[in-house]
């Protein structure tokens, strides 16, 4: 893989929350125009990984290169410029409740460009068309359904035509039809705009449908980062149990068990 066409290059990322280690030696890459799905169960560290990819936290060690720039080393001004090329759709949408849907979508344009009012309005309407929300720009976020909020958040994320799009749990809390539509939308966006898209999800079906490559996280470590076929064919026990939805059957160590129960008492 040539390093110039890597959109995302994470190497040896280690992060802590307080004294607890959350991510341990994470390394993976994604090429421009690729859909990378980060998969893992609850508590696997996938949300933490996403927050680090977004530059919301400073890691303990390791590097995160986005579009060739190491975001752990960037100055505030350089990060500001890089953010114009990044779009993020949060799990709950994170639309600004005091603004209409249209104003929400326009906000990045208003902050980063000097376009006139009408141009911004037209551009935000175009993006709302893309996510099938045309005509909803004057509603408040509280008047939208769960699926509409996710789509509006997606419209806001892509309004600057970013080269990198991050999508947190696109199908969480949605019915199968709406979540299938969102998957379709992600594929269209990649094909039409050649975006590199990172999707964090625990939904297998959606992951296999949209992913070019899948990174599987478990307890803060990467189990594998490979193509869909390779992940399916993996013989790793944890990956298989994730795929087949079997519960964890780890043997309990009696000493550790006792230690956990009696910690800070004796």
């Amino acid at each position: 893989m040539n390093s110039t066409d890597l959109a995302i290059d994470v190497s040896h990322l280690v992060t802590h929350y307080g004294s607890r280690k959350i991510l341990d030696d994470i390394s993976f890459q994604a090429r421009q125009g690729e859909i990378m799905v980060i998969m893992g169960g609850s508590g696997s560290g996938k949300s933490t990984l996403l927050r680090h990819l977004l530059g919301l936290h400073q890691p303990t060690s390791g590097s995160i290169r986005l579009l060739g720039k190491d975001i752990t080393q960037l100055s505030a001004d350089e990060m500001y410029d890089l953010r114009k090329n990044m779009g993020v759709a949060f799990q709950g949408g994170a639309l600004f409740n005091s603004m209409t849907v249209g104003e929400n979508v326009e906000l990045p344009l208003r902050e980063h460009t000097r376009l006139d009012e009408n141009t911004m309005r037209i551009m935000s309407r175009m993006k709302l068309e893309v996510v099938n929300l045309a005509g909803f720009e004057n509603l408040m976020p509280s008047e939208l359904s769960g699926g509409m909020i996710k789509r509006a958040a997606l419209a806001r994320a892509i309004v600057m035509d970013p080269r990198l799009l991050f999508f947190d749990e696109p199908s969480a809390g949605l019915d199968p039809v709406v979540s299938a539509e969102l998957d379709e939308l992600i594929l269209i966006l990649r094909d039409a705009m050649n975006m590199t898209i990172v999707v964090v999800t625990h939904e297998l079906e959606s992951a296999f449908k949209i992913a070019d490559r899948i990174t599987v996280l478990d307890q803060g470590r990467i189990l594998m980062s490979d193509t869909v076929a390779a992940v399916r064919a993996s013989t790793n026990e944890r990956i298989q149990s994730l795929l087949n939805r079997t519960p964890r059957n780890e043997a309990i160590n009696p000493d550790e068990y006792m230690e956990r129960l009696t910690r800070e008492i004796f």
Partner: protein, 267 residues
């Protein structure tokens, strides 16, 4: 922990103190950052927008006029009643104007305005920012490339610094009017004579004293409201706690700052 209870008490005191120092430091940093964006945001391509400042000014200032005016009116009248009652023992009811004029402009107007704005807006700021924090809206601002302090705190701080002194002067006038009305009834002192005497005894220093306090209160209300909002982490209950804290700490902060300021400047 079944350690020595004395030891655990000392460690608790230590942790509380550390927490308080950390909080003071955090608010100081917040203040510095808000001023930084107000002054230099333009050069960092992230200006604090005038529209946002005016919008906040209407919310924290203009909309507070009725309640502040009512409270000030009642306070002025109350001062007149108490003043006349007290001074009558010396047969010096006529001096009540001096008492009202000085205590209102130097003390009561800024204090009442500050406390009402802390109750109205301090809680609203904490609730708004706290809710944005738990619904990831603050994160959304940051990933869009909008500094949350510049976008949420700086316009508020500017609006508070603009409107609180104005509200304080308004509060002074209304309180004096309340006092004048009571004196007109009780002492048959015409209102215009009351005001003429008031402006005779007041010097610019008294008014400036009150207005300077209101600048300090503006900073306290904004920082405590915003700081508590940003530190919300635990859902709806956290927002509730932050709101309560913002009001209680805001009011206490105002009264303590008032005491210190008066101590330093009035002796």
């Amino acid at each position: 922990m079944t350690l020595n209870p004395l030891l655990s008490f000392v460690s608790q005191v230590g942790q509380r103190s550390l927490q308080s120092v950390r909080e003071v430091g955090y608010h100081a940093a917040l203040l510095a950052e808000a001023f930084y964006w107000l002054l230099f945001g333009h050069w960092r391509r992230q200006p604090v927008r005038l529209g946002a400042v005016f919008k906040e000014a209407v919310g924290v200032g203009v909309n507070a006029i009725p309640i502040v005016a009512l409270a000030s009116f009642a306070t002025g009248m109350m001062l007149a009643i108490q003043g006349i009652y007290t001074l009558r023992t010396f047969g010096a009811e006529g001096q009540v104007v001096l008492g009202i004029a000085l205590s209102v402009t130097r003390e009561f107007a800024p204090l009442i305005t500050g406390i009402f704005v802390a109750g109205r807006s301090g809680s609203a700021i904490a609730a708004r920012i706290g809710t944005m924090q738990i619904s990831q809206e603050i994160d959304a601002l940051r990933v869009i490339g909008i500094n949350p302090v510049r976008y949420l705190v700086a316009p508020l701080l500017a609006a508070m610094l603009l409107t609180l002194p104005a509200l304080t002067i308004l509060s002074s006038l209304v309180a004096l009017f309340g006092g004048a009305l009571y004196c007109a009834g009780e002492l048959s002192l015409p209102i215009d004579i009351f005001f003429a005497r008031t402006f005779e005894v007041l010097v610019a220093d008294d008014v400036i004293h009150g207005v300077l306090k209101s600048f300090i209160f503006a900073v306290i209300v904004t920082l405590i409201g915003a700081g508590n909002g940003f530190n919300v982490s635990a859902g709806a209950e956290g927002v509730g706690q932050a709101t309560t804290r913002a009001v209680v700490l805001g009011c206490i902060g105002i009264i303590l700052a008032d005491m210190v300021f008066t101590f330093l400047t009035s002796r």
